[in-house]
């Protein structure tokens, strides 16, 4: 069942989340504002990582659709932290690819006064190693 134990353990280590605590209630997916954009939903991330079924996640667009809004972390009754699992998978994918996709120098060109700071933080979180 654990078809990629090494990746699984690595993702769990990076995320710091305990996926075995999940009781399959689906509140993370119920609360997710990016749900419709995602091919794999937050609860599936948790479940698939737990099962070691990681390849499909690494190749999925869903990684970059997650807004990192952390609503799922806030609402999860078991403290599983699905967003951190998503992020860990994302980080693993990026580490496989090489370069950072965003640097500090890129920021002034795209930023304006209305850009929330969290967006910048999340962008760095998502697109850098």
């Amino acid at each position: 069942m654990h078809n990629n134990k090494y990746l699984r353990d690595e993702i769990i280590r990076i995320s710091g989340a305990d996926v075995s605590k999940c009781m399959r209630c689906g509140k993370c997916s119920a609360t997710c504002p990016a749900y419709d954009e995602m091919e794999y939903h937050p609860h599936q991330f948790v479940n698939m990582v737990e099962c070691g079924d990681i390849e499909p996640l690494l190749n999925s667009e869903s990684l970059y659709k997650c807004l990192s809004c952390f609503a799922c972390i806030d609402r999860c009754p078991r403290g599983v932290q699905p967003a951190k699992v998503v992020e860990a998978v994302r980080l693993t994918a990026i580490r496989k690819q090489g370069a950072n996709h965003i640097t500090a120098d890129d920021i002034p060109a795209v930023v304006d006064a209305d850009t929330p700071q969290q967006l910048l933080v999340s962008a760095f979180r998502k697109y850098t190693k």
């Binding site: 399959r24 209630c25 689906g26 749900y35 609860h43 609503a71 009754p77 078991r78 599983v80």
Partner: protein, 664 residues
Amino acid sequence: MQRVGVFVCWCGSNIAGTVDVEAVSEALKSEPGVVFSTNYQYMCSQAGQDMIKDAVKEHNLTGIVVCSCSPRMHEATFRKTAAAAGLNPYMVEIANIREQCSWVHKDVLTGTEKAIILGKAAVAKVNLNTPLIPGESPVTKRALVIGGGIAGIQTALDIADAGFEVDIVEKKPTIGGKMAQLDKTFPTLDCAACILTPKMVDVAQNEKIRIFSYSEVTEVQGFVGNFDVTIKKNARYVKEEICTGCGACVEKCPMKKIPNEFNLGMDNRSAIYIPFAQAVPKVATIDPNACNMLKNGKCGVCSKVCAAGAIDYTQKDEYINEKYGAIVVATGFNPISMDKFDEFAYNQSKDVITSLEFERLTNAAGPSAGKLVRPSDGKHPHTIVFVQCVGSRCESCAEKGKEYCSKICCMYTAKHAMLTRDKYPDTEVYVFYIDVRTPGKNFDEFYRRAVEEYGVKYVKGMVGKVTPEGDKLKVQASDLIANKQLHIDADLVVLAAAIEPDKSARPLATMLTASMDTNDFFTEAHPKLRPVESPTAGVFLSGACQGPKDIPETVSQAGAAASKVIGLLAKDKLTGNPCVANSNELMCNGCSSCANVCPYGAISYEDKEFRMPDRTTKVRRVAVVNPAVCQGCGACTVACPSGAMDLKGFANSQIMAEVDAICK
């Protein structure tokens, strides 16, 4: 010096097969204090026991060592034998040379060697044994039941039925508890009031039962059989004996805008009130925080309209002291607060309600006279969403919810959903569940009927958020089976809130020195074999104060608790375990170390006068162990820094002697 007799048992070949019993009895002959030593095929048989009795008489023995099977097997047998021979039963020691010797060792030489050492240890111990006499204490033949819900009511009725007096202390103005607020009960759907109110009347009419309503327990002293309890009767400003419960005062009271607790604040009551029509006792109570007369002396309408003259604005809280033999805790539960679950918008919309509020909404005696309407605008809801496990099974959010399963929610939600579909077939009913847990007689059938016959839509998933928008509630949820996110425009959202023990339970547990778990549920003496007793002797548990329970379970536990109480009250005297701690007051310095570790609250302190060497006297604080409460664990003996505390039957000197005998 003791005169010890040693009796080595062969147990057929069980012991004699790997232990040379002859050698054992011979070797023990030369031990200090041993005046007689023998062996026999079956020591526990009648002939063997007679042999012991004869030897006691013949050799004038003061102590007995039996080398045989485990003391868990035949210690009681040989103690009886000793008693029959005129010895104190606690002058018997067993050396376990079967289970812990002959059965685990194959070699005769090692077996015999070990058996001799075990025998020596037992002889060394018995040399230091002293006759022990179990303490006796009288039993007050009256029980106290704390809490007047269905658990307390049933316990009180059962105890009274056996002929003992019972007092019920209830902090609300009426007994009945949560069950009185319910509409129908699962899985048979009989109406709660129809089955509860006759029981309430039975309680009121039973000569053996006294009800202290609007009262609370403020102090508990004493121990099993002899509790000394102080009950505070709060002033209700109405003379209970005179009030007829006619309700004229309630009607005329000008202060009518007080949120009605009985209907969970969904409608209003007056400052003087009777919680509900079938209240027991049916007596009015004045809310001192709302009454104008009590707050600033202006009004007095109720006393004018009261034909019986029962109103008394000068009434004071009254303290009653009473003695009890047994105490039953039946403090029950409450739904947890929904304040911290922002995602469900409980505080933002009146149309997001808890299940208990839903009960009141559908109850014929409730704020809407049984018509299911939205609390905000009184309109009939067409789409209802039920959310299960709100705050239950919540591990991460200790400050919000509870880690345990609240057990009753699956069933009452199925009931609510079914009744709604039955009465209002035009409503759409969704139930969001994580798991449906229905272990109970006819429970799963009930849930399946809700789905199959009544068309309730059960969705595996959880509601993520509820947003009030216009007069609708936007519900965003996940359907894990269809792998979809659902968006439902609901008219009413019902939250199955987790249940928690009543807040009064924690201070009560401290008063009773009864233990509790981290969730404030009372701990039972044994989770399987003694489920209705608290580890504290004489304290019994009934209903949801011990863990989440539905009505049938509560009633059966209430009956079980009552039978335990009856068993206790039926005794004239309680015989204790004589192997209890005792403090040498000459050595005790009153440091409280022992009382701090005692799980039973058996240790108290007394100021005692001591004569000093210079003929003066000095008052010192010393520990006193109550032998009726002490269970003999010995935690205090180790905690005692001055070595004053010792355990009878397992004294420091005795265990030390055993260690010495083994290590020789």
